[in-house]
Amino acid sequence: MTSGELPGRGADPENRARALQSLLIEKGLLSTDLVDEVVSKYETDIGPIHGKRVVARAWTDSDYRDRLLSDSTATLEAEGHTGLDGVEIIVIENTDHLHNVMVCTLCSCFPWPVLGLPPTWYKQPGYRARMVKRPRETLREDFDLDLDDDIEIRVRDTSAEVRYMVLPRPPEGIENVPPEERPEYVSREAMIGVERLGDKHVREL
C-alpha cells in the first residue's frame, strides 16, 4: 500500500481524471478511443437490458433456466455477457417461499455485465447496513415490499469475486406476452431483489 498523499490530492476530480488519462496515453497504456468505447458501452448497451433478456428467457425456457442456475457464469459468457476476468456471477432464483436480495457490504460490487451500473441507493452505506440487519423491515420501509412472515428472506452479500443476480418469479400472464416484449416486464429492482414480480399480473406492470 502506498503511503503518503496522493499526487492529485486537493485538485478538482475532473483534472485528476484527465491527468490520469493524459499520462497513461503518453505511456502507451491505453487510448482515448478505448476509454470512450467503454463509457459508451456502459452508458447505453450495458444496462439492465441484458439481465432482463436473461430473466425473460429463463421464465419460459426450462432447459436454459436449469443451465443458468447451475452454472450462471458459463451460461452468461456463452451469450457474450462477459465482464471482468475472474468475476463469477451467480443467478439465484426466488420461489413462493424464498426471496433473495443483494447487497455488497464492502463497497458496491454489482453484476455489471448483466445489470449495468448500480443505482445510487444501492451504493449507500445505509442500504447495505440496514438490509443485512433488518431485511424484512428495510424492504417494507424503503421499497414498499411487504413480505409475509412465511417467506424466507436471504440476503446475498456480493463480493469482488462473486456477484449475485436474482431470477424473479414471472408475473402472471407472462405466457400471453409476445416473447420479444417479455424483457419489458423485468425490472432492475427485481433483479436486485427489492421488488417481487410473481405476485403481480402483467397488466399491473
Binding site: 483534472n15 444496462g47 443505482p119 432492475r188
Partner: protein, 125 residues
C-alpha cells in the same frame, strides 16, 4: 433483428423509476470509470486489487455517499494504483498541476489534434 433498435424500444417503454438515471453525473466520472475498466481489460490493473483499494477508501464512511464522492474514491484508488508501477508520483502530480493551471485541457483527447509539440521525443534522459 436490429439489436440497437430493440434496446431503445425496450428502454423507452420501461417506466420504472431509476431506469433512466444517467449513468454518470459528470464526464469526469465516466472518464474515471472508463480508465479503470480499460486498464483492467488491458491487463495493467488487477480488478480485485482495485476493488479492494476502492473498498478501503469507502470503509468507515458514514452518512450519504454522493455520486461525486463515490467516483472521487475511484479516482483516488486509480492514482494509488497508477503510481505503483505505471507512472511516478512526480509525473502524475506534474500532470495534474498542468491541467489545474489550464496548460492542458480535454482537447488533447480529441482525435486529430496534434500534440506532438508538447512531448519531447528524446528519451535519452
Amino acid at each position: 433483428m436490429n439489436l440497437d433498435h430493440r434496446i431503445e424500444d425496450v428502454l423507452d417503454s420501461c417506466d420504472v423509476p431509476g431506469e433512466h438515471e444517467p449513468a454518470f453525473e459528470a464526464p469526469w466520472q465516466a472518464r474515471a470509470f472508463g480508465l479503470a475498466v480499460v486498464l483492467t481489460e488491458q491487463g495493467h490493473v488487477d480488478w480485485n486489487d482495485f476493488q479492494h483499494r476502492f473498498a478501503t477508501r469507502l470503509d468507515g464512511r458514514e452518512g450519504e455517499l454522493s455520486e461525486a464522492d463515490y467516483y472521487r474514491h475511484w479516482v483516488e484508488a486509480l492514482e494509488e494504483t497508477v503510481i505503483e508501477g505505471m507512472a511516478s508520483r512526480t509525473e502524475l502530480s506534474s500532470r495534474v498541476a498542468a491541467f489545474e493551471r489550464g496548460e492542458r485541457d480535454a482537447s488533447e483527447f480529441v482525435a486529430g489534434v496534434d500534440h506532438s509539440h508538447d512531448h519531447s521525443h528524446d528519451h535519452s534522459q
